[in-house]
Symmetry: C2
Subunit: 245 residues, 2 copies
Amino acid sequence: MDDNEKYQDADPGLPQYRKLYEVLRSHILNGVYHEGDLLPSENELCTVYGLTRPTVRHALDELVREGLIKKQKGKGSIVHALPTGIGILSVAGTTSALGNRNLETRIISGPEVRRWEDNFFFPLPDPYIESGCIYMERLRLVNGKPLFYDISYLPNINLPRFTTRSFENKSLFDTLRRHYRIEVTGGEQRLWAIPATPEIAGYLQIDPGEPVLHLERKIDTNRVGYSFYSSLYCNTEDYALYGLF
Amino acid sequence: MDDNEKYQDADPGLPQYRKLYEVLRSHILNGVYHEGDLLPSENELCTVYGLTRPTVRHALDELVREGLIKKQKGKGSIVHALPTGIGILSVAGTTSALGNRNLETRIISGPEVRRWEDNFFFPLPDPYIESGCIYMERLRLVNGKPLFYDISYLPNINLPRFTTRSFENKSLFDTLRRHYRIEVTGGEQRLWAIPATPEIAGYLQIDPGEPVLHLERKIDTNRVGYSFYSSLYCNTEDYALYGLF
DNA sequence: TACAACAACTTGTAATTACAAGTTAAAAGC
DNA sequence: GCTTTTAACTTGTAATTACAAGTTGTTGTA
């Protein structure tokens, strides 16, 4: 199967630049290109995929934003080294960021509907407060070692049967996309280094008082006006968090 | 002075989309627009600034990337709340991220030329190693409290008189831009929560063993092939780091 | 051989046109 | 007065054309 066929087979609902982006992205991640390699030039990509330069450039821009390529005027699109560490500072859920590392997800609590906490860590729109909050605590383990303790808060709006679903070893982001057509588009986060409380230390199997990384995140989606939230505690003894800026 | 004049007066060396970006950015940061306000529509901006939609959209895309606006199809460009916390996870130097907070920069050591450390925390190109490293330790204080302890490493390539410059209460990014025409375009970073060593605790005026945030950053510039590096220790007791993803 | 000029690439910027699709408020109909 | 329809907006996608500017290898000249 050549590139163009793979391109044609992509989800026809997607815009052209997105389909090209997916193809190139998978090629880079699958090692078709290596660090330092040049992608085909924009004009070549135009010819191969039957697109025009603005469209091709749109796809390449996304790859630049994601850090998979760097562009240099006069030269071309240079494939970047694949990130080491855990790419949780950028978009994509934990599962996708961890790639094919041995990942396990354990449900500690939920999902269940409850009231939003008072003084929630991000300001909440009124409709969110009225409809309540889907609450869930999860533990993510890599190679058997707990790495993240994650508390998720989702507005209970138009998510039928959500609390009855199983999330054991499932990706939250995938579930949202597959069953509810909700895609994560980005978000904002705050970040601290804090001493582990006894509870958090218990989950992460470290000593209380040991430094852990605390993230509070607001996660935006393609559904207009729908965001959800996550409070995350991370043991960075063995893995660093990785991100672009 | 109206918008178009301010636009015309911008650095003529900059591309059009960049000039428009700067104008809109300054308007948002200066409170001309408030959270939730709509920017003028793309077509209005075209008319006012004498540009076409692709150019205007390019400028708006940058604002979206920076998190200053969000766009919604059918509606417009919505001004986002200004970030709280310290925007160090995204581009822009510490000084710019801290805005008008009371910032002080103290030089602990350097700048001086020395050999690169063995097993440097990012892989170094050979030309960097040969030409040596400009080393500098700085402490950044906010309202008199030390917040960052920053070790910078710059390749000693084509930076005349760099080590003789004064950096006391000066921005490194600004110096690079003004004197060497080097602009920071982005970079990558790794992130840990670690216990403060006695040395770091001393600089940050906290107890040894207290959690601090450790960042290792590779910082890319518009000068082809020129990146520099920073190892950063951050006291997050009072301020969170802030970023988009 | 060494150097300079050039040609053939590359990406960057920008104008122009067209239509699709989501939002909103006014107009039309009941 | 109320609902439905429509028209006039908004941003999203995409093709087309043109030139600027940086990179690289080749060609020609000294």
